[in-house]
């Protein structure tokens, strides 16, 4: 129990939060400890649901204006302010859906350690919740590391496959490089004698050299590796594609958002970031967004494609974050609040629809046994409900009305345009408008490709012909997420007001300033969205009525005079993307092999396969040459130790002679 907490309602909320956390941990323990499958199943489902709901209550209360909550265990501080509350909802909402899905999907696996996987998943949720509520360096880093390591074990669940192990290894190396950067960040920030609570860090913000330039760079490195900012995204596609689908959903929807949380937290603690950092974040956002969606277009693998879209959406979030940081730097509070609010809302939205898409992809892979786009097709008839869920996720991620993606992208547009109509250099944020428009256009093409190739047309292989609808246990979580997407799309006030409150808090401006000109627009947006759905419904019904009175013929698709069309002649994912990628040349990363009678194209991961692996090979080449010093003879190793000892003594002797060594 928290030793010190504010009195009254906040204390109850703090208790509620930790109760929820305890329930989630208990779910993890029960999954690992309980032997009888039926009991273990029920206990896990009940505890995880109760935990997420209980934990979300304080977050909702804080967003509704209950004020920040604090709790302290010894020297470890925890707290929920507006920012933490927003990210807590990101963790617990989509996280619960993924947990449910995973719970059901794992139930059919009889070969692998299912109990352990469930247990780890619940503990991962708890670690995520602690990351966003930690208020000190030590609890934050501990939670961060637990989260990273648990995610590794979750990713390598199907560890009998070599590519899964490889993806896990790359992930592990990348995440630890990130953790190192974070340790360096906090070490530099806290200084030799400083306190390790976030409050102490905030107090030191003013005395940091060069406005905390080093810290801001380290934050981009450490948190950027987690978030998957180009070019630090190299670990992401394979790890997210190789993991079981509910883990992919959690990783893509929630875990990478911890990088975004970290950047936000650094901004709140640091106060006013320098302008160059805002520009850098905005530029990284545009680059990640455009390249992410471009690389997604080039993919042939359903889950890899979705993973690259996470890179794209992190880019959009960064564009909002960058615009917000620039708003602070150049003293335009409206832009700051709108940018941050857009980034926060897009974080939540992306968690909803990306989890949904990964769960949908999981159901597809489960039904057909393949992730290869060009082996799928025609699944809309065989899995109609999964198709509807996936379509909703697609429309949402492309940022089209009437769903939630549109609302958050609209906010980001507002921020970028607000910068453009301000004075001075901040007007260059207008580049972001063009970037975001291009990202939108490309994302539309990409999801037209995924939906069309996977779900429409005819089955391209026997795998796809055997597709069948996902069981209810898998559809439930998906439609929970669908409800979230639709709700935020049709009733944007629900989400935009809290997001603006968070944005205003991060920007340190009154919430009234942030809502200026934006709140009034929400009602027409809601009306347009509802009107759109209503008109589509009415129009379809009317057209159906018209058709009833007409001679209707069913026939094969018109083959333009060709008599024997077959399913393999349909447009493929590669051919659909070809004209788009041709425009961007080598940036797309597509390598083609042609020979008479065959054509093969491969989508390269430009950073991993183009830079990091060659660099690694070079380093290994150098190290290989150092191998002769390792003979395997014990006496030689003892000589090495003696040599090192002598060198050390020599050094102390010399250094002591000049500078003096304290006895």
């Amino acid at each position: 129990m928290p030793r010190r907490a504010a009195a009254g309602a906040p204390a109850r909320l703090v208790t509620l939060f930790f109760l929820g956390l305890t329930a989630i941990v208990a779910a993890g323990v029960s999954a690992a400890a309980l032997r009888r499958p039926v009991v273990a199943d029920r206990a896990f489902a009940l505890l995880v649901s109760a935990g997420c709901v209980l934990g979300a209550v304080p977050a909702v209360q804080v967003l509704a204006g209950a004020g920040p909550l604090r709790a302290r265990f010894g020297t470890w501080d925890f707290g929920i302010d507006l920012l933490s509350a927003a990210f807590l909802l990101v963790v617990l909402g989509p996280g619960l859906a993924s947990a449910w899905y995973g719970h059901r999907a794992l139930g059919e696996d009889h070969e692998r350690p299912v109990g352990a996987a469930r247990s780890l998943f619940a503990l991962e949720l708890a670690a995520l919740a602690l990351v966003v509520t930690a208020r000190g360096v030590v609890p934050f880093l501990v939670a961060w590391e637990v989260m990273a390591v648990l995610a590794y074990f979750l990713v390598i669940f199907e560890s009998e496959r070599a590519e899964v192990r490889r993806a896990g290894l790359v992930y592990l190396v990348a995440t630890h490089a990130g953790t190192l950067a974070l340790i360096a960040l906090f070490a530099v920030w806290a200084g030799p004698t400083g306190g390790l609570s976030f409050d102490a860090l905030a107090a030191r913000a003013a005395v940091l050299p060069a406005g905390g330039a080093l810290i801001l760079w380290l934050a981009l490195l450490g948190f950027g590796l987690k978030a998957g900012i180009v070019p630090l995204h190299f670990w992401l596609p394979e790890a997210h594609a190789s993991a079981p689908s509910h883990v992919s959903a959690l990783m893509s929807g929630v875990v990478i958002k911890m990088g975004i949380y970290g950047l936000f937290r650094v901004v709140t603690l640091l106060g006013t970031p320098p302008a160059w950092w805002g520009w850098l974040v905005l530029a990284l956002g545009i680059v990640s967004g455009v390249l992410g969606v471009l690389w997604a277009l080039a993919q042939h693998d359903l889950k890899r494609l979705l993973a690259y879209h996470s890179v794209e959406n992190i880019g959009i979030i960064l564009m909002g974050l960058g615009a917000g940081a620039l708003g602070i730097s150049y003293g335009i509070p409206l832009v700051a609040a709108l940018g941050f609010a857009g980034a926060i809302l897009h974080t939540l939205n992306h968690a909803l629809f990306k989890s949904l898409l990964f769960l949908g992809a999981g159901a597809t892979v489960h039904a057909t046994g393949t992730r290869a786009l060009d082996r799928l097709g025609g699944l809309a008839r065989r899995m109609p409900l999964t198709w509807v869920a996936f379509l909703v996720g697609s429309v949402a991620i492309v940022g089209l009305p009437p769903l939630n993606g549109f609302v958050s992208e609209w906010l980001v547009y507002q921020a970028l345009l607000g910068g453009g109509t301000g004075g001075g250099p901040i007007r260059l944020t207008l580049i972001g408008v063009a970037g975001l428009a291009l990202i939108g256009g490309l994302a539309l093409a990409c999801f037209a490709k995924v939906c069309g190739i996977v779900f429409l047309g005819n089955a391209r292989s026997a795998d796809a012909e055997h597709g069948h609808e996902a069981p209810r246990g898998l559809l439930g979580p998906m439609f929970g997420l669908v409800a979230g997407c639709v709700l935020i799309g049709l009733v944007p006030m629900l989400a935009v007001r809290p997001a603006l409150a968070v944005g205003a808090a991060v920007a340190r401006v009154p919430a009234a300033v942030a809502g200026n000109g934006v709140i009034e627009a929400l009602t027409p947006i809601a009306l347009l969205s509802v009107g759109l759905l209503a008109l589509l419904w009415i129009g379809s019904a009317a057209l159906a009525a018209v058709r009833r009175g007409r001679p209707i013929t069913e026939a094969e698709t018109w083959g333009c005079g060709y008599a024997l069309p077959n399913a393999r002649m349909q447009y493929t994912a590669s051919s659909f993307a070809a004209p788009l990628l041709a425009t961007y040349g080598p940036l797309g990363g597509v390598h083609e092999k042609r020979s008479p009678g065959s054509y093969h194209s491969h989508a390269h991961e430009l950073v991993l396969e183009g830079v990091i692996l060659p660099a690694w090979e070079a380093v290994r080449g150098v190290l290989w040459r150092l191998r002769p010093i390792q003979h395997g003879r014990l006496w030689v190793y003892l000589l090495y130790i003696i040599a090192v000892l002598l060198l050390l003594l020599l050094y102390i002797g010399v250094a002591g002679g000049t500078a003096g060594v304290s006895p």
Binding site: L400, R427, G452, A544
Partner: protein, 306 residues
């Protein structure tokens, strides 16, 4: 919102099919033919509407939804445009994002409907449609940016309507606005599948873009798609015309008339372009579309300089 606003909306919905007719007539006259009357599209629509339809056994509800979306989305987008030259039915800060988003949704569903048939020809058209649309989007938004900078307004009514907020200053901003007008005209050509991006009169499936994407639609479905296409064309024609009309400061009925006349004039210009140049090779189309973005970017730079 006044009665004139609704009248403008009604006129757009009723007269949109005239635009392709005017373009076709202009083209015919310029190439020395008599051509079909300008109201030929209405006849086509009526004829198709009365017919039965053939549906492929491969298709699903998506194929049947797309024609409805093809009409509903531009209709809703029309609510956001000041079609009486003064103010729109619905206006809010950032409504241009919704305008583009609604039209994009229509295109998304159309592309899916094309893929729904499982035909490689329609897949080809869908792929090209999506590819070219992705390049049009930045040009459109950069155009909106210039209008927003020129008027310090965030809604389409403020940007190109005469009633709300600051009017476009055609004085010092003229070069920049001219760039945008040309860029928006390029966008119109691409969005309504006209020469030099696409040729509505071509008869070879391999060279088609939009036509081949709707190849399997027939009867009432095709009628809706054609009407929706005409409506899209009308909206994109009204954008640059609105820039001029808002400057004129005409009173309500006159502004409406000016906007309609201007929109029809755009149809004539489209016809002139079609009869004076050939369509571009497919791999050159992106260059044309990027040129639209370049023009709009120049407009932005000029706005920022002034």
């Amino acid at each position: 919102m006044t009665a004139w606003t609704l009248a403008g909306l009604g006129a757009m919905l009723a007269l949109a099919p005239l635009l392709p007719g005017v373009a076709a007539k202009t083209k015919a006259l310029l190439t020395g033919r008599r051509g079909a009357p300008v109201w030929q599209p209405y006849r086509d629509l009526l004829r198709l509407w009365r017919k039965g339809a053939v549906y492929s056994t491969t298709t699903t509800w998506m194929f049947r939804l797309a024609p409805v979306a093809g009409v509903v989305t531009p209709m809703l987008a029309a609510l956001l445009l000041p079609l009486d030259g003064r103010a729109a039915v619905v206006r809010f800060s950032g409504d241009f994002v919704a305008f583009a988003g609604l039209l994009a949704l229509g295109r998304f569903l159309l592309v899916l409907a094309a893929l729904d048939t499982g035909s490689s020809f329609e897949g080809m058209g869908a792929s090209r449609d999506a590819a070219f649309a992705s390049l049009v989007e930045p040009a459109l938004f950069l155009g909106f940016v210039v209008l927003a900078l020129g008027t310090d307004q965030r809604s389409l009514s403020g940007m190109i309507g005469g009633d709300v907020g600051g009017r476009l200053s055609w004085g010092a901003g003229a070069p920049s606005l001219a760039m945008v007008a040309v860029s928006l005209f390029f966008v119109l050509l691409a969005e309504s599948s006209r020469v030099p991006v696409d040729d509505p009169a071509t008869h070879l499936e391999l060279t088609m873009i939009h036509e081949v994407a709707v190849l399997d639609h027939s009867g009432p479905d095709l009628a809706l798609l054609l009407y929706g296409g005409a409506l899209r064309m009308g909206l994109f024609a009204a954008l640059p015309v609105g820039m001029l009309v808002s400057r004129s400061g005409l009173a309500a009925p006159l502004a409406l008339v000016a906007l309609l006349v201007g929109t029809v004039a755009v149809g004539v210009v489209v016809g002139v372009v079609e009869s004076s140049m050939a369509r571009l090779r497919l791999n050159r189309v992106p260059q044309f579309l990027v040129a639209a973005s370049v023009l709009a970017s120049l407009g932005v730079i000029l706005q920022l300089l002034s």
